[in-house]
């Protein structure tokens, strides 16, 4: 993250309270402040229920903050901004559409002509390595393939900001590592600004320029750990292990504070 460059995303004193089961408001986020630089790959890490996904939903414009604000490219977020693309937990593909129909959906609703959007969809299906599966329905694909479709469906709209909510959480360990490498390969092409939520330390350290550790509810930024190692990172190098330890310690510290 360059010191001089203006942040692409600004999260400023973000608080959010949601109505709990008994009607009493629960404070999910307790004042999160973050700046995310253009082209930065940021991972948000924290224990379950700390508000990681909620934070992402606020940046995506799905939730309105109770206090504080979220700005993207200098504009306050109200509803999903056009430059933002979201990759959901559990892929959220439309089961009634084929792979190609899913991928071209964003272009279709924008009124992009058929042959143009078919070409674009084909490109991105190719990019995520699913050539030949265009006419399959999501339930005919493996978990990893579904998530690739989810990524292609988002990337085809050429968002400059990519929000990813534990996209690989449901995958087995090997598929997960392969998907992480593939995501980096795709990301290296045009270096979008990425906010990636995960609860895996190894995943965060493998992917991120910077790891932000949230505290348990109400979530605030507990620690920030920059990861300087060059990509693709070896998961066994000293640098990787050192960064892993630093993040782990931040998580521990925050646990012991409870």
């Amino acid at each position: 993250m360059g010191e001089g460059s203006a942040p692409r995303i600004v999260v400023d004193g973000l608080e959010l309270a949601l109505p709990g089961p008994d009607g009493v408001a629960v404070r999910v986020l307790g004042g999160v402040t973050l700046g995310i630089a253009p082209s930065e790959f940021l991972c948000v890490l924290g224990p379950s229920g700390c508000g990681k996904t909620t934070l992402l939903n606020c940046i995506a414009g799905f939730l309105r903050p109770s206090a504080g604000r979220v700005m993207i490219a200098g504009a306050r977020v109200e509803g999903t901004p056009p430059e933002v693309g979201i990759v959901f937990q559990e892929h959220a593909l439309f089961p009634w559409f084929t792979v190609r129909q899913n991928v071209e959906y964003g272009l279709k609703v924008q009124g992009v002509p058929r042959d143009e959007r078919e070409r674009a969809a084909a490109d991105f299906i190719e990019l995520v390595g699913l050539h030949g599966f265009e006419h399959h329905y999501p339930h005919q694909l493996s978990g990893g393939m579904k998530q690739r479709v989810g990524i292609a469906r988002t990337l085809v709209n050429r968002p400059s900001v990519l929000l990813m909510d534990e996209p690989f959480g449901a995958l087995d360990a090997l598929t997960r590592e392969a998907m992480q490498e593939e995501l980096l390969r795709v990301w290296e092409r045009d270096r979008k600004t990425v906010v990636f939520v995960t609860h895996s330390i190894a995943e965060a350290v493998f992917l991120a320029d910077r790891v932000v550790v949230l505290s348990p509810r109400p979530g605030i930024v507990q620690a920030e750990v920059p990861v300087a190692a060059r990509r693709l990172r070896s998961r066994t190098s000293d640098q990787f292990v050192a960064a892993y330890r630093a993040v782990e310690q931040a998580l521990r510290r925050e646990e012991s504070l409870r």
């Binding site: 959901f88 609703v109 329905y137 999501p138």
Partner: protein
């Protein structure tokens, strides 16, 4: 030994079936019955589809209608036969009423479930891809509900068929239910069996056709 009057031989039943086929009576009666089922089914569906959609989408309407539906649902259509006769006489109308009543419930219940079960994550995904509200309704809400609606229609058709014969027993001069009733009055047990087999075959063909139709219009569930 069982008396042949109670259980006629296959040859007797076959002979009776041949007679009814040759004279065309069985086809005419099957046609009459089929028209009644389809007529009643269409009326039931025409009421159930829009109603189910509104109940499924609008919470206040759901709160209002749920108790009424839950109370009315366990009442079998056959319990309404006296009422049907009192209201609509013994003509075609009372039969259509009973059949449409029977078809209505499975359809409305499935349509409600379908429109209620729209996954918010799909709505969010569509919204994040910048679909308009109209596009979200068309591409997400309707598509989510569609398999439920189709299943409801298939089950509704089955229920309509189940009530058909009972409805035809009330009073009629054509139809497979009438065939059985009339055969009983004439002590023609073989004809009763032919009628039963014909009803079975018609029901089988109907349900197979609908299932095949379902596979085709909801490919993402079956491919």
């Amino acid at each position: 030994m069982i008396h042949p009057f109670l259980l006629p031989s296959p040859a007797e039943v076959g002979g009776e079936a041949w007679d009814l086929t040759r004279s065309g009576v069985i086809f005419r009666f099957a046609g009459v019955s089929l028209l009644r089922v389809i007529g009643g089914f269409l009326i039931g569906a025409a009421v159930a589809l829009p109603l189910g959609m509104v109940i499924g989408r609008v919470q206040t309407v759901r709160d209002l209608c749920d108790p009424i539906l839950e109370l009315a649902r366990p009442v079998p259509a056959l319990a309404l036969i006296p009422l049907a006769i009192a209201w609509f006489g013994i003509g075609e109308l009372s039969k259509l009423f009973l059949i449409s009543y029977a078809a209505f419930f499975p359809i409305v219940i499935n349509v409600i479930a379908g429109f209620h079960a729209v996954d918010p994550i799909h709505v969010r995904a569509a919204r994040s891809l910048r679909a308009s509200e109209v596009q979200i309704f068309r591409d997400v809400v309707l598509m989510s509900a569609f398999p439920y609606v189709v299943a409801g229609l298939r089950i509704g058709m089955g229920m309509a068929f189940l009530v058909l014969v009972a409805a035809e027993l009330i009073a009629s001069n054509a139809g497979l239910g009438y065939l059985i009733q009339e055969a009983r009055l004439n002590f023609n047990t073989a004809r009763i069996f032919v009628g039963i087999i014909a009803i079975g075959l018609l029901g089988y063909i109907l349900s197979k056709t609908l299932m095949e139709l379902e596979r085709r219009v909801v490919p993402w569930k079956y491919v």
